[in-house]
């Protein structure tokens, strides 16, 4: 009974994580400029990765594998914002102008 519930939960979070990863990828393609694309990549890095790892942890149970998965999650948790910030800052220093509000409305027209 408990095992079945854990299975259902891990199914749900694996599928949810996969869906969020794909949504992040789609956003990476659809977004109109560099800065907005970083937001889409953030979805993959946070919720997609988190849910996938949660689903794997539920499958692994209490073992060394779970500890390693937690480490993997913490690693993503600490390094992904650092890398994103470095990217955004480098782009800003390079002088790439972000698309601001008026321009941002333009691609929303069909």
């Amino acid at each position: 009974m408990v095992a079945g519930a854990v299975d259902v939960l891990s199914w749900a979070s694996l599928v949810g994580g996969g869906v969020f990863c794909v949504i992040g990828g789609v956003g990476l393609i659809r977004m109109p400029d560099f800065y907005t694309r970083t937001h889409a990549a953030g979805v993959t890095d946070t919720l997609g990765a988190g849910l996938l790892l949660l689903g794997l942890m539920l499958q692994a149970g209490l073992s060394l594998v779970t500890v390693k998965l937690v480490m993997l999650g913490l690693l993503i948790f600490f390094t992904s914002p650092t890398a994103t910030h470095a990217l955004a800052r480098a782009a800003m220093v390079r002088g790439i102008k972000p698309l601001l509000r008026d321009g941002g409305q333009e691609p929303s027209k069909p």
Binding site: G42, P81, H85, M92, P98, G104
Partner: protein
């Protein structure tokens, strides 16, 4: 003092990664941890910043709140991405920081970046330049709840 606790943390990390407990491998792990601490000592990074144990248990309260925020805003950004009209209104805003230490400011900037929908572009001691995906995400940030929570989390360190 910090060197000792760094050594313990590194050695624990090594043990968790390896999972073998023969004397030879454990002594190799201890040697590796000592080598890393020695290198870090040469680079002058063995101090309270590289090893923030003083934050203690407040980490758990802050992280659970941050996790909830991340889930909420990631959901919002996902809805924007799958929306065929792509209703984005990107904007740049400056937010003031009220943290006292560098660790606090960095925690705040990293939390901003980790939340989808806002990224910190430039960080200085007093303010952070933030690129927000929509007007509502910028407004949520300017209300300053995250700022208050990070300042509380940083505490009287």
């Amino acid at each position: 003092m910090y060197a000792l606790s760094s050594f313990l943390v590194l050695f624990g990390f090594w043990l968790l990664l390896s999972g073998y407990f023969t004397p030879f491998l454990v002594s190799m792990g201890a040697a590796a941890a000592i080598a890393v601490v020695a290198l870090a000592h040469r680079m002058n990074v063995v101090d309270h910043e590289g090893h923030p144990v003083h934050l203690g248990w407040r980490v758990i309260g802050y992280w659970s709140w941050l996790g909830k925020e991340i889930a909420k805003s990631a959901w919002d950004v996902s809805k924007i991405i799958v929306n065929p009209r792509l209703p984005i209104s990107p904007m740049l805003v400056r937010v003031k920081t009220t943290q006292k230490t560098t660790v606090g400011v960095v925690t705040y900037a990293n939390s901003i970046t980790l939340t989808p929908g806002t990224i910190s572009v430039e960080v200085s001691n007093e303010e952070i330049l933030v690129h927000a995906l929509t007007r509502s995400s910028a407004k949520a940030l300017l209300e300053g709840e995250m700022d208050r929570r990070v300042t509380h989390f940083e505490g009287a360190s």
